[in-house]
């Protein structure tokens, strides 16, 4: 092989190596950049979807609050007022018919109307989110449990652990609504006799536990039901907890108690 030929081959080899290296570096660089960018796009999309979901949930909660507030006020101002008027008439009638044989029936009616007035007042308070704002979560939960207790169908217990700290108006309202939903589920489906609500104020997190001693249910089966059935209620609870930056775990098994465990990190709550 002549020296010229060796030189030519050497030139080709050196240039080839440099070119190949450049190609590999360019290719690898592009692939890395592409995947990084794709990852970033996926994360951004996820964040947008999450934000969108949060906003929808937020407006759903606001609409629900407004509706409940309106219903609560209507109950208090209109129905409550009418019942009070009925009570006045009944009292008048009671005095007029002091010696009548119907007096016993009137007194029974007066008692029913009195209880109804109390129930309507209590219900209107629990429906009004201002109650949570004014009295705080603990007091509102106590009122709600008292109202359920009065129905005579359930024994209720409220246990507060730790030193209570404010969780923020919005968080407390959402937590209160979540508790109401859990309590309604217990009343409607559990078939139990006792409900216990525990609030635990820890240094790094807040925990709200709602338990009943009912017949329990298969959580997996209920969670997979379509959106318009009961499963959506459980999903709704979890979504609300996520909205607050926390978690909601529902544990139950057929024949065992049901426990709804809502945990909020303290910073997210405040």
């Amino acid at each position: 092989m002549t020296t010229d030929r060796v030189d030519d081959i050497l030139v080709v080899l050196v240039t080839g190596s440099i070119a190949l290296l450049t190609m590999v570096v360019f290719g690898a660089g592009f692939i890395i950049y592409y995947h990084r960018r794709r990852q970033q796009n996926v994360s951004e999309k996820k964040a947008i979807i999450e934000q969108f979901k949060r906003e929808i949930l937020q407006s759903q909660i606001e609409i629900q609050n407004q509706t409940l507030q309106q219903v609560g006020r209507e109950l208090h101002d209109h129905i409550g007022q009418l019942l009070s008027v009925a009570m006045l008439h009944l009292n008048g009638l009671d005095e007029e018919l002091e010696q009548s044989e119907h007096r016993h029936a009137i007194e029974q009616t007066i008692n029913v109307v009195r209880t109804t007035i109390q129930d309507v007042r209590a219900l209107s308070k629990t429906l009004d989110s201002d109650t949570v704002r004014r009295f705080g979560l603990r007091q509102s939960l106590a009122l709600e449990l008292e109202r359920i207790e009065r129905t005579g169908r359930f024994r209720t217990y409220l246990h507060v652990a730790g030193t209570p700290y404010p969780l923020g108006e919005e968080a407390e309202t959402i937590l209160f609504r979540m508790t109401q939903e859990s309590l309604n589920n217990a009343i409607k489906h559990s078939g139990g006799q006792a409900i216990m609500v525990t609030t635990s104020y820890q240094s790094d997190h807040f925990e709200l536990i709602i338990t009943d001693d009912g017949k329990g249910f298969d959580v997996n089966e209920v969670s997979t039901r379509t959106a318009n059935t009961v499963g959506s209620g459980l999903r709704n609870l979890q979504q609300r907890a996520r909205l607050l930056g926390g978690t909601c775990t529902i544990s139950s098994e057929p024949g065992q108690q049901t426990r709804v465990d809502i945990v909020l990190p303290k910073q997210a709550a405040v």
Partner: protein, 225 residues
């Protein structure tokens, strides 16, 4: 033909062998070549034919073979632009590629008539071709960044072929683009500069062979965007 092969330098022999292997593989696997890369066959065939004729004229007839490259350059650009035309999903971009073929042909004719007659190297036409091809390569990479779903460039046959085209034309932009200058002013360096270009030919055809023989590479439907 065989006697001509043994008269050639090692670099030319290697190049011809690579061209032949690539051509055979592309012809055998014609049905499996993705829609957008089918013009590669015409590109390889034109390179192979041009190389055979150029070597024959140079080694057997001992005459100037540069006119072959004057013919090859527009054919080469036509084949490459067809690859890009079929690869780009955007209608407007594909149309732009088609128009660039006409414009480039016109430019080559002007160059031939005004500055680069067939007996000298067609550096200007080649530089223009390189610039256009490099531009289309970058347009392709930019479009790739907008790909979504489960696209993976590392497995994409077209991606590696386009990278090798980019390297081929970036390298040759400097080598063949400055060839006239070296022939005119630094003749001693001419052959070495010329042989440097072979490295890019080898890489390009090695990539073509690899992407059409290894199962690692897949095809993506670029027409769907």
């Amino acid at each position: 033909m065989v006697s001509l092969f043994f008269k050639l330098g090692l670099a030319d022999q290697l190049y011809l062998m690579l061209l032949l292997i690539a051509l055979v593989i592309l012809v055998v696997k014609y049905d499996k070549i993705p829609y957008n890369l089918k013009p590669l066959i015409w590109l390889t065939a034109s390179h192979f034919t041009a190389e055979i004729f150029a070597d024959y004229i140079n080694y057997e007839l001992h005459q100037n073979n540069l006119f072959i490259y004057h013919l090859l350059t527009p054919i080469e650009y036509l084949c490459l632009s067809l690859i890009f035309f079929k690869t780009f999903a955007s209608k407007s971009l594909s149309l732009l590629v088609l128009w660039s073929i006409l414009t480039y042909f016109l430019f080559v004719v002007i160059c031939e008539l005004m500055w680069e007659p067939i007996e000298v190297n067609n550096s200007i036409a080649f530089i223009a071709e390189c610039l256009l091809v490099v531009y289309w390569c970058f347009v392709y990479f930019k479009k790739l960044l907008q790909q979504e779903d489960d696209y993976r460039p590392e497995h994409d046959r077209t991606f590696w072929v386009i990278i090798s085209i980019l390297i081929y034309f970036t390298g040759n932009l400097f080598i063949l683009g400055t060839f006239n200058y070296f022939v005119e002013y630094k003749l001693a360096m001419g052959p070495q500069i010329y042989y440097t270009g072979y490295a890019f030919y080898y890489i390009f055809y090695l990539v073509v062979i690899a992407t059409h023989t290894l199962n690692y590479f897949r095809d993506y439907d670029y027409r769907s965007g």
